[in-house]
């Protein structure tokens, strides 16, 4: 039956780079991290409105209990990831770089599961609508990093029919192996989750895309799937895992500029999201933990860890043997798109795919030089932009001109800055220009 499936054709997307893969932790099985004593659950872990707390200081919570309800349609609830006592709702360091409100829970060490968490009586009879509702209540967001609420993606407007679901197992960022380990260790969850997502969307065409540097994961997934979910190996090419590029590479459709995947009838979900959906539907388990790759030259024992949401980085690092002495940079996410952190108190949140620790030598400070107009940035840009131009215009404060070079379409993948021989921080210019253009628009609007 497996042999009957014909080989899935793949396509090329323009641009892209191939940084060294550095998958140090690819062969390390996922370990469950010991429970922290205190967790800090930010109310805003997703794109959209922050969640609204429903607990107060002194409340006792059980693992999996809702501590904050969704703050709107584009929002999700957050759950207690351990059992214990709420000691307050405080402003606490957040991965975005400033303090944000978070629910603090002091562990009672029991990790007692909320007894309301039970599997539904009959999984097979669930309707798409019911699956979507379960996903929404489980607080599931895109686990690839963007943390967009999954139920919103599963509710396309009527005029945008969806015919294809792509499960994103590309994990094209160097260093990160969280998705890789998940696909190896729990292929049944990924495939099962994919089926549930397909049911929620009402589509029959489901692809799981994996980069070819993870052939063992391709095999594991192929072993777990039937004829309904195709497993497609892709070329190892960053940013293969970026939504628009993945769609181009797998079904040869081009998402219109400024548009969304649903405009071409596609929904993309990360493999981690699929597995979380599987857990939520089959066990009733909300999203309270995730696999985090703790890696890089700056950590003593690199690991793939299953971490409870809200665990401070310092504890995650401690359970990996601690920092190397000359750690210079702490990055949440991968080296291409991750954000550098300055405070080890920040908690792991739903979108945290990895913690990358770079030492003095690895976090080399590159001084920018003059642009040589070599055109590398133009060649590698997967969005077909001209980074050298918008960067220079931005540098000179000419934001209107930068906008003319479509800086708004930049996906901040980092290819341009990676390749720039002059070490110009092109991505930072893009982010800066986008923010300033938005600011100006807002001011002009009054």
């Amino acid at each position: 039956m497996m042999g009957a499936r014909k080989k899935q054709k793949t396509y090329r997307f323009q641009g892209g780079v191939h940084p060294p893969e550095e998958k140090l932790t690819a062969a390390l099985p996922t370990e469950a991290m010991p429970l922290p004593e205190k967790i800090y659950i930010p109310l805003s872990q997703h794109i959209g409105a922050p969640a609204v707390p429903v607990v107060k200081e002194g409340d006792r919570v059980l693992t999996g209990m809702v501590v904050a309800e969704a703050g709107g349609f584009v929002s999700t609830p957050v759950h207690a990831s351990i059992s214990g006592t709420v000691t307050g709702i405080v402003d606490y360091p957040h991965p975005v770089g400033r303090n944000m409100p978070a629910v603090v829970v002091e562990s009672d060490g029991a990790d007692k599961l909320d007894e309301k968490i039970t599997p539904p009586p009959d999984i097979n009879s669930l309707t798409g609508e019911e699956i979507r509702e379960i996903i929404k209540n489980a607080g599931i967001v895109g686990l690839g990093g963007a943390a967009f609420p999954t139920h919103v993606k599963l509710s396309p407007p009527k005029d945008k029919p969806i015919d294809t679901l792509i499960i994103n197992g590309a994990e094209c960022e160097p260093y990160l192996t969280a998705d890789h380990r998940l696909m190896l260790e729990h292929p049944e969850k990924v495939i099962g989750g994919a089926r549930l997502l397909a049911k929620a969307l009402g589509v029959t065409r489901v692809l799981t895309g994996v980069e070819k540097n993870k052939m063992d994961a391709v095999q594991a997934l192929t072993g777990a799937t039937g004829s309904d979910v195709a497993v497609v190996p892709f070329a190892v090419h960053y940013p293969q895992g970026a939504e628009k590029q993945l769609i181009k590479a797998s079904v040869d459709r081009v998402v219109p500029a400024g548009g969304l995947p649903m405009d071409v009838g596609v929904v993309v979900q990360n493999v981690g999201t699929a597995a979380a959906v599987y857990d939520a539907v089959t066990d009733g388990m909300p999203l309270i933990s995730r696999i985090v790759t703790v890696t890089g030259p700056g950590i003593r024992t690199p690991k793939n860890l299953r971490v409870r949401i809200g665990t401070p980085l310092s504890e995650v690092i401690a359970s990996c043997g601690g920092l190397a002495p000359d750690v210079r940079k702490v990055i949440l996410g991968g080296p291409m798109m991750g954000n550098a952190q300055f405070n080890l108190q920040v908690p792991v949140i739903k979108g945290t795919s990895g913690v990358l620790l770079l030492t003095e030598s690895a976090a080399e400070v590159l001084q920018p030089g003059p642009c040589l107009r070599c055109g590398n940035c133009v060649r590698v840009c997967p969005m077909g932009l001209t980074p050298l131009m918008f960067a220079r215009y931005t540098e000179l404060g000419m934001f209107d001109e930068a906008a003319e070079f479509n800086v708004a379409d930049c996906i901040e993948c980092g290819c341009c800055a990676y390749e720039c021989p002059a070490h110009i921080p092109l991505v930072q210019y893009a982010k800066y220009a986008k923010a300033e253009i938005q600011n100006r628009k807002r001011k002009a609007a009054g």
Binding site: G97, Q428, K431, Y432, A435, K443
Partner: protein, 345 residues
């Protein structure tokens, strides 16, 4: 000779005829005043008036939609010239300047991380709000200096904007571009400012900065004019009430409130004239006991103690007290202040 005259005349006539017809066909109404006014305007295109540059502003003035007062950079002479062209009144607005409400360099605000990247505050602010430990502190990368159309801002070596009051026209470009909103426009005459923008609680401020406003309220209590307010742990000067006495400056425990009277050359002191009949009202009202004199005799003001609050002038029923502006900048140490100009209150 005749042919030459005829040729030229004929040609001239033909050209004139053609142009006359063309000017009918392609007639466009143009007001010559626009160009004249545009010439008078400073030409810095700073945008403070709210129009897209001086040319557009000139157009707006002529159309009656723009007000000359909107231009902060124009000098009085120019403003009056425009007013004359348009046949309208020009009322001089209160002169303002830009003030940086942060002294992170004095306060010893540390960096929470090493920032490496675009040398622009707006860009740095997007990366964790900039490296300064105080979330409200000036980032110090000099965006304000770079955007100032009048070259009025220079950056000190340790990263604090220094504003040249003589060059600042209060156009507000720096105010709009500062991502931390630590620059505000303040009236030059009210030369006292709270140099802190942090709304954090006192303890949090103290932790990161030795010269931040800790919200103690001493300034509010000492102000004789109720011109100090305290909101969200941050003191603020109500410029409509402030009489620039500087009492708040002296009581502020962290030196967050500072006095710019000498820098701006607006320091005033009281002088008692011959009309004084020794009623002692002024001496009793003076908050700093700077007025001395026997009853029924002419009183005198000790210029070293006088803070220029003007309470005495308000109290005097005979109008014998006048407030005069003094220039202390030349040589503060020696001799009495030089009097540079009068002015009552």
């Amino acid at each position: 000779m005749l042919s030459a005259i005829l040729t030229l005349a004929g040609l001239g006539f033909l050209a004139a005829l053609g142009l006359a017809v063309a000017s009918r066909v392609f007639y466009v109404k143009m007001d010559p005043r626009v160009a004249t006014i545009a010439d008078i305007l400073p030409g810095a295109n700073c945008g403070a008036c709210g129009y897209g540059g001086c040319g557009a502003f000139a157009q707006a003035i002529v159309s009656g939609e723009g007000k000359i007062e909107a231009c902060s950079a124009i000098d009085e002479e120019g403003a009056h010239a425009i007013a004359d062209i348009m046949g309208i009144m020009y009322t001089e607005s209160e002169k303002e300047w830009a003030v940086v409400l942060c002294r992170h360099t004095d306060g010893g605000v540390a960096n929470t991380f090493d920032y490496v990247g675009i040398s622009d505050c707006r860009a740095a602010n997007l990366v964790g709000g900039g490296p300064k430990a105080c979330p409200s502190a000036c980032i110090g990368l000099g965006t304000c200096a770079a955007v100032c159309p009048f070259g009025a801002i220079t950056m000190s070596a340790d990263g604090l904007p220094i504003i040249d009051p003589n060059r600042c026209t209060a156009c507000g470009v720096c105010v709009a571009e500062c991502p931390k909103n630590v620059i505000v426009l303040a009236p030059v005459s009210s030369a006292v400012s709270v140099h802190c923008s942090s709304e954090d609680k006192g303890a949090a401020v103290k932790k990161v900065c030795s010269t931040g406003c800790i919200g103690c309220g001493a300034c509010v209590r000492v102000c004789p004019f109720e011109a100090m307010t305290m909101e969200n742990n941050l003191a603020a000067v109500n410029y409509s009430k402030c009489r620039v006495c500087g009492l708040c400056v002296s009581v502020c425990p962290t030196n967050a409130i500072r006095d710019h009277r000498d820098e701006l050359k607006v320091r005033k002191i009281a002088v008692i004239g011959d009309d004084c009949n020794g009623c002692t009202l002024c001496a009793r009202a003076c908050p700093v006991d700077a007025i001395a004199g026997n009853p029924k005799e002419q009183h005198t003001v000790d210029p070293a103690r006088c803070i220029g609050c003007g309470i005495c002038a308000d109290q005097c029923k005979r109008g014998a007290v006048s407030m005069i502006t003094v220039d202390n900048t030349e040589d503060e140490a020696s001799g009495p202040a030089t009097v540079v100009g009068g002015g009552g209150r």
